[in-house]
Every structure is written in C-alpha cells, then in structure tokens.
C-alpha cells in the first residue's frame, strides 16, 4: 500500500464539470501517490476521458482544483502541463502520421532537451535526438519499425509508439487513457508486464476497460459512475464492494 505520509504527486479535489445538463465530473476527489498505479474504471460515459482531459489541460473544469507536484494547474495549457511532467497517452492514438516512428519520438526528445527554436542544425544529424529516440523505441520493442511512417504502423504498434512518446518525456506521472484498447490478448499481456515495471519510474493513473489488466496492475482502483467516484480501494476491496458489483461489474446481488 501507499505511504499516506508522503505527498501525492497528483491531487484532485472537488472537481466539477458539466456539459449543459450532463454532469460529466461531479465532485471528484482523487490522489495519485509515488510508486503506485491507480486505475480508474467505470462504464462507458462515466466521465473517465473527460476527467483525463481536465488533468491534461484540454478542458477547463467548472470548479475544483488539480494539484500536480504541489502546484495548482489552473490556467495552464496542455503544453505547460506536459512540460511540468505529465506524460499522457490517448485513447485513440494521436500521432504525427506523416512522420516515421523515430521522428515522432524525436519530437518528444526534442521537447525535453531544450528549445525548439533552432532553425539550422538538421535534426537527423543530431545524434542526441536520434539515439535518444531510438532508445525509447527499443524499450517498447519498435526499433525495427523506426523508419516506417506512423500512418503505416499497425494499430498495436501505434499504441506502443504512444507509450514511447510518453516515456521520452521522462514524466513525473503517466496519464494512460485505455492503453490496451484494441491490443488483442497477446499484446495486452505484453503491455501489462511492461506497464507494471513503469511504476518505479513514475506513478500511473490508468484508465482501462481490460479488467484482467486492471486487477493485475493496480495498487488502488477508483470506480467512476455518472461522474462520481463511488468507491476507491485496493483490488480486493473493490472486488468485494457490493455497490461496485451492482453498478459496474454488472452482477446481480442476491
């Protein structure tokens, strides 16, 4: 279990966000501690992606605060938050499709290693960028596909590439939005093993539908239903929670 005495890396308190009459985020409190994987589960439309988007800076919340490493994120945009150390992957892969896998990762290495306002030196001759990006591709097992345009990569490979991009940012916390989506059983298993090792690098807030992966990986689980966190606890606590079984796992209770 997490040591409650340490400061949370990410702390969300009393977060509200509505779209018209729809309360997408309804008073959410959530913490992410160093070294843990905190899974966020919930049925479709529960507001998981909306919550991720508020953390990443795409949507401004109506009220409430998000603190990251002790700093209030209010008013900061996506790029600012990425610079602070939020490493995010998307539910639907978001890549520069014309660029090769390598050049996609190089972009992240470049962002991490100084200014993008350099106009003369060719990036392909910048050993630090190329080698740094190659190392990240090796970590996710894409090194043989480095020079293939992202548009020509398979679905699973694009998911891996997304993770390589997040890794290259050397983030202080990962926000992974359904990394297993559409991976197939074999791919999910490999990725589960890989993500398990990632928690030592930075804690992970993991949105995931694949329950095998969630139960294998998560230190804590929060269940989101209609924008509210209805339960937070360890894997065993959540498995045994009656409300969760009714609301989400879809089991009749006798």
């Amino acid at each position: 279990m997490t040591d409650q005495a340490t400061q949370p890396v990410l702390e969300i308190s009393e977060l509200y966000k509505s779209f018209g009459a729809l309360k997408a985020t309804d008073g959410v409190n959530l913490t992410l501690y160093p070294g843990e994987i905190h899974a966020l589960i919930g049925p479709n439309g529960a507001g998981k992606s909306t919550l991720i988007r508020q953390i990443s800076g795409e949507y401004p919340p109506d009220s409430g605060t998000i603190r990251f490493l002790g700093q209030d994120l209010a008013g900061l945009g996506v790029a600012d938050r990425a610079q602070l150390g939020l490493g995010r992957t998307f539910q639907v892969s978001s890549l520069a499709l014309e660029f090769s896998a390598l050049r996609n990762v190089m972009l992240a290495v470049q962002a991490k290693s100084g200014s993008s306002f350099r106009f003369f030196k060719p990036v392909m001759k910048d050993r630090d960028l190329v080698d740094g990006a190659m190392k990240m591709l090796e970590k996710v097992g894409l090194q043989d596909r480095a020079h293939i345009p992202a548009a020509e990569l398979s679905h699973g490979e694009r998911r891996q590439l997304e993770i390589a991009l997040a890794l290259a940012l050397k983030p202080k916390a990962f926000l992974l939005d359904e990394p297993m989506a559409g991976m197939g059983p074999e791919g999910s298993k490999t990725l589960t093993g890989f993500l398990g090792g990632l928690r030592d690098q930075a804690p992970i807030l993991l949105v995931e539908h694949d329950m095998d992966a969630v139960f294998a990986l998560a230190d804590r689980i929060s269940v989101l239903v209609y924008g509210r966190v209805v339960a937070t606890g360890t894997v065993d606590e959540i498995r045994g929670n009656r409300i969760v079984r009714e609301a989400y796992l879809g089991e009749e209770t006798s």
């Binding site: 600012d80 978001s94 520069a96 660029f99 090769s100 962002a111 306002f117």
Partner: protein
C-alpha cells in the same frame, strides 16, 4: 553529404534552367524575356515565403499580398523621399529616404515582420476557413488604407524614377538585376530547406499534422506558428521590394486579394511544401500569362484549367508529378 534524390536532381535542373534563361534571351536578342525571367525569380520568392506557412505549417494565409505590398511600398516610399529630397520625418528628428536596396530590404523585412506579428497574433487563434477569412480581411484593410491615403499616390500608385542602388552592381542592367533576384531566391530556398530539417521545422510540421500531439510533448503550437507566419511574411515582403524595383512602380494592386491568390497559385501549381514548388509555379504562371495572354484576354481561363488539372490529378503539384511523393526520414 547531399543525397541526390530524384527531387534534388530536378531542383538542380530547375535552378540551372532559370539561371540560363536570361542568357539565352540575350543570345536570341529578346531582352523582354530577361524581364520575364526576373519576374519569375522575384515572384517565386513570394511563393517560397508563403510555402513556409502553407506548405510546412498548413497555414492557408489568404493575406500574403499585405506583406508583398508592404515590401513594395517600403521600396517606393523610401525611394520617393530620397529622390525628391524630402525627409520622411522632420521632427522630432530628421529621417530621410534612401535608394540603397540593402536599407530598403531591411525596412521591408522589419515592417512586414511587425505587421505579421500583429496579424498572426490575432488570426492564428483561429484555423481552417476562419483563418483564411481573417488573413484576407487584414490584407484588405491595408489595401483600402493604401487606396485612400493620398500622400503616396493613393489609387494611382507611386513611381520610382530610377531603380534603387546596390553597391558594386549596376541595377539598371537587366541581367545584373536578374542576378540579384536569382541569388536572393536561392538564398531563401536554402533557408527554407534548413528550416524544414531543423528542430523548429520538425515542430512546425508536427503542428500541421497534429497539434494536439505537439502540445502533448510540451511544445506550444501557437508560438511555433506565429514565428513561422512572421518569417513567411518577411520573405514575401522581400519579394515585394524587388518587384517594386523591377517595375519601378508600386500600386495598391500589389496589396489586393488577387495578389494573395496569385501567390497561392504559385505554391499549389508547383507543389505544396516542396522546396522548388514556388519556382515551377511562378514560372508556369508567367508562361501561361505571356503565351495565352498574347492570344486571348481570357488567359486566366487556361490558367484555371491547368490549376484544376493539378488539384484533381496531381496533388503534389508539378514537382510531385515529376519527382513523386515526398519522403520523410
């Protein structure tokens, strides 16, 4: 190490062909063609400027005539003050005009850069059709301002009696003036190619493909785009200053939306995002204009047919048609 790809080979041929054109024209005793070649070189510079924003950055600016015209007026206004011995400002300090091209170019770059900073700051908050319309609106504002401001000729424009001077070059000699334009064209193409391959270029092209991705790695797309818009405008203004000197005349036509459209046609005809695209585009445009323009006053119709063909069947423009699809590393 230069990879001599098909495109690089084609680019060399194009550069040499343009360079040879005025000399062939001299040999054939057709000095008018020297002027045409000079026009191609100068307008191609404007295209190279727009291509940076449109081709690499995906910023479809329909207002680049503003920068082209500002460059032209920088040349015209500075020269007219110098030739009439009237200071531009007499108080609080005296500011005189000049006929030195180097100074004129510097002023053209400065003025257009500032204008682009302002226009870009507002218009880059939008995208797509709105961006096209806002850039058009800004350019039209400047156009109507030029028309209604009588000090510099208003609607009639402004003549430059003698071509401006560059140390060590006889600018009144057609071939020398062509060489000035040609060398500047090669320099701006070299500069674009460096930008394209640089860190900045990587961020810029990523912003075009997926700005969400760019922001997620921690790079602000806005700053990258604004910088591009300014550089793009400055290159186009340089072209405008040369164009004024070529014709020894500046008029609000340089600022009109037709001009924005023309520059865009150079880029699309030649191949969006291709280094030498604007050179081919400008050359084709001028060829069609002078060949069909002599036959029929409806030459624009034929240009339209060619443009339609390119858009429908050769998306990469002429360069894409000849050298194939562009490859990224």
């Amino acid at each position: 190490m230069v990879r001599l790809s098909k495109e690089n080979g084609l680019n060399c041929v194009l550069a040499l062909a343009l360079l040879a054109a005025p000399f062939v024209a001299t040999a054939l005793d057709e000095p008018f063609y020297i002027t045409l070649a000079t026009r191609v070189a100068i307008l191609a510079i404007a295209g190279v400027g727009l291509n940076l924003a449109l081709g690499l950055g995906g910023l479809v600016s329909f207002g680049h005539a503003a920068f082209f015209g500002l460059g032209g007026y920088a040349a015209g206004i500075l020269a007219s003050h110098a030739l009439n011995y009237e200071p531009i400002l007499s108080s609080p300090f005296e500011l005189n005009g000049t006929t030195q091209m180097l100074v004129i170019w510097f002023v053209a770059l400065l003025v257009s850069g500032l204008a682009a900073l302002l226009i870009g700051f507002f218009s880059l908050r939008t995208s797509g059709v709105y961006f096209i319309m806002i850039t058009l609106a800004f350019a039209q504002m400047i156009y109507y301002f030029a028309i209604s401001w009588p000090a510099y000729g208003g609607e009639d424009g402004l003549s430059i009696y003698v071509r401006n001077v560059l140390p060590g070059v006889n600018t009144m000699d057609p071939i020398s003036f062509f060489m000035i334009a040609f060398v500047l064209l090669m320099l701006v193409i070299l500069f674009s190619s460096m930008i394209k391959n640089s860190r900045f270029g990587a961020a810029l092209q990523a912003a075009r493909q997926n700005d969400e991705r760019l922001a997620t790695v921690g790079i602000h797309p806005f700053g990258i785009r604004l910088t591009t818009f300014v550089i793009s405008a400055m290159i186009t203004a340089l072209s405008g200053a040369l164009f004024a000197d070529l014709n020894r005349f500046v008029s609000p036509d340089m600022l009109a939306w037709h001009m924005s459209g023309e520059i865009m046609v150079f880029v699309i005809l030649g191949g969006v995002g291709r280094l030498f695209g604007p050179v081919v585009g400008a050359a084709l445009f001028i060829l069609i204009e002078s060949v069909f323009g002599g036959i029929s006053e409806y030459w624009m119709f034929y240009l339209g047919l060619v443009l339609l063909g390119v858009v429908l069947y050769a998306r990469g423009g002429v360069i894409g048609f000849l050298a194939g699809k562009e490859k990224h590393d």
